[in-house]
């Protein structure tokens, strides 16, 4: 009996050691590709690195100079404001539209089961293709949308070159591309709402709206929160649509923080300064990922 047990545990040990060999290469590659660059990024952020200025690479005389400097940089502070607008609008719009579509497609009819696959198309498209498509749709000369609006007597001028509307045009294109994600999450959660409470509420004479508001919505709320956090992280990484549709303009009205880092590093060669802002973005994404991990672990089993 004892021998059998120790035999069992030595098998487990040996198996454990062998399994490590499967994990090691992946962890080594991930470490080399993510941890090493991350450390280098932090180190660079403490220097005024500019490839045009010799010896700026190891100049640690003012290690926090970049971090102090960014809050005195009006263009950086402005980019934070643009980021907040883009993120808040993206999260709210995508959640609302995603939830609305999920409620429609939740019902099990043949048409709607087919539709569940079709509405996913925007989400898988290459961002660059989404960018040129909406660039065309926002170009007054060729866009059928503009033509239609003019035809019904509501002509709309070019949205992307108008500082008042450029950011919202980008939010619209981004929402088209990403709303299926919120829809998928909401749909998965809706299908897990137990029928019992829904039936009970109906028997008590609750209207459809009351059933949604008091029974379904509280149940799917944790999923919507997680979906919102994911959309938030994605909105912080916004780049291709802005690059193609407005290039940060007109002026700097669509220059989000991520785009500003790109400008600082790859247009102005201010690597140290760009790295410092990138470190801040990284930290923000890390905190959000941690929150997501906490929530999903606490509610484990609620989504499959």
């Amino acid at each position: 009996m004892t021998a059998a047990l120790s035999g069992q545990s030595s098998w487990t040990d040996r198996r454990g050691r062998e399994l490590v060999w499967g994990l090691a290469p992946a962890l080594a590659v991930l470490a080399a590709l993510t941890v090493v660059p991350a450390i280098y990024l932090v180190v660079t952020s403490l220097t005024p690195l500019n490839l045009a200025v010799p010896n700026s690479e190891w100049d640690f005389s003012q290690p926090l100079g970049n971090y102090v400097g960014m809050f005195e940089d009006p263009r950086f502070v402005h980019s934070l404001g643009v980021q907040v607008k883009l993120s808040v609008a993206s999260v709210l719009l995508q959640l609302l539209i995603g939830l609305g579509v999920a409620l429609l497609l939740h019902q099990n009819t043949t048409v709607r089961q087919l539709a569940r696959s079709w509405v996913l198309v925007p989400m898988v498209l290459p961002p660059i293709v989404v960018g040129i498509t909406w660039l065309a749709l926002f170009t007054v000369d060729i866009s059928p949308i503009h033509r239609f609006l003019a035809w019904i007597g509501l002509p709309v001028g070019p949205l992307l070159t108008n500082p008042a509307t450029a950011l919202w045009a980008i939010v619209l294109a981004g929402t088209w591309q990403h709303f299926p994600f919120a829809m998928l999450m909401a749909l998965a959660a809706l299908q897990m709402v137990p029928e019992g409470p829904v039936e009970a509420a109906r028997i008590d004479g609750a209207s459809r709206w009351q059933v949604f508001w008091h029974v379904r919505l509280p149940f799917i709320m944790p999923t919507l929160v997680v979906a919102g956090l994911f959309i938030l992280i994605d909105s912080v990484k916004a780049f291709p649509l802005i690059f193609i549709m407005t290039d940060g303009g007109p002026g700097d009205v669509t220059e989000v923080t991520n785009f500003y880092v790109y400008r600082q590093a790859f247009t102005f060669s201010l690597w140290g300064y760009g790295s410092a802002i990138a470190v801040l973005i990284m930290a923000g994404v890390f905190v959000l990922s941690y929150v997501i991990d906490r929530i999903t672990t606490r509610n484990d089993g609620q989504w499959s």
Binding site: R15, E18, L19, V20, G22, P25, A26, L30, L33, T34, V36, P37, A38, Y40, L41, T44, V101, L104, Q107, T109, V111, R112, A115, M123, V124, L125, P126, P127, I128, V129, V130, I132, T133, A136, L137, I142, P144, R147, W176, F181, M185, A188, I233, K237, F239, P240, I244, V261, A265, S275, A278, V279, V285, L288, S289, I292, D293, T296, W303, S304
Partner: protein
């Protein structure tokens, strides 16, 4: 007659709303495709009907676009291959062993999936200048591993979790080593998962724009970057841009249809725990 129709589609109001919604959602998608077949003189025309032409595709064929397209195939394909070879055993190990740090590794992988590309691009751009990897397909494949490896591990682990351990224990009693058991018993059982993971991995690398924009110039530029070149260097050739866009998105759309059952898990990027 009305009642028969109503019996067949009891929720017809919602069904009609659904059809309208799908048409609305897919409108930009079809708009781009039709633009790629519209004759040059008619690009600005509002007519719904036109005589389709392949002139834009022919123009693409004669330019540098095929070269970039091949670059895209090679880099996305190689990144997928390497990510699978390294990532699949790792996913299996995470699924089977109870490492103390397994949860922490999971969080690390989630962060890697979520991290902004710019954070990797600055250090790698500088490193590539010294290593001579700038504007090379090898350099691009290495960068793609940052997200595809994490994706493979994240996607494959639930597939391995679903394979009963008893099957492996039986093989182990017969004297099969851990990795021999994995290759002969477990891996074949997860074939659909492997296919889906590879396809989604390919799509993610194929769709990349940011890394290719910064880390390539001419030699290794991929198809998405080539499209931007049309805007910057050729001028507003809408027809050609639409044709290139259609060619770039077609493989993605076709692949997605193949793996639509698994798409959710891959694209939700770990938000939906397996």
């Amino acid at each position: 007659m009305g009642t028969a129709w109503q019996r067949r589609f009891p929720h017809w109001r919602g069904d009609i709303a659904t059809v309208l919604l799908v048409l609305l959602v897919l409108f930009p998608f079809f708009y781009l495709i039709q633009m790629s077949f519209r004759p040059k003189e008619d690009i600005f025309g509002g007519s719904i009907t036109f005589v389709p032409t392949l002139e834009h595709y022919e123009a693409l064929w004669q330019g540098n676009f095929p070269f970039s397209f091949v670059n895209s195939v090679i880099t996305a394909g190689s990144a997928t291959l390497f990510a699978m070879v390294i990532g699949v055993p790792a996913a299996y190990a995470l699924s089977r062993a109870s490492f103390r740090g397994a949860r922490r590794i999971g969080l690390w992988i989630l962060v890697t999936r979520m991290a902004p590309p710019i954070a990797f691009t600055i250090p790698l751009f500088i490193a590539y200048r010294f290593l001579g990897l700038h504007d090379s397909r090898t350099g691009l494949v290495i960068v793609y591993l940052t997200f595809s490896l994490a994706l493979v591990i994240w996607m494959m682990k639930p597939f391995f979790d679903a394979v009963p351990r008893q099957l492996e224990e039986a093989a182990a009693i017969d004297g099969c080593g851990t990795w021999m058991t994995f290759l002969t018993i477990t891996l074949p059982l997860t074939a659909p998962g492997l296919a889906a993971t590879a396809v989604i991995c390919f799509i993610q690398s194929w769709n990349d724009f940011f890394f290719a924009l910064i880390l390539t110039r001419t030699q290794a530029s991929t198809a998405p970057v080539a499209i931007v070149g049309f805007i910057q260097y050729v001028g507003w050739e809408w027809g050609r841009m639409a044709a290139a866009g259609t060619l770039v998105m077609m493989p993605v759309v076709l692949f997605s249809i193949l793996v639509r059952r698994y798409l959710v898990r891959g694209l939700a990027a770990g938000s939906i725990k397996g």
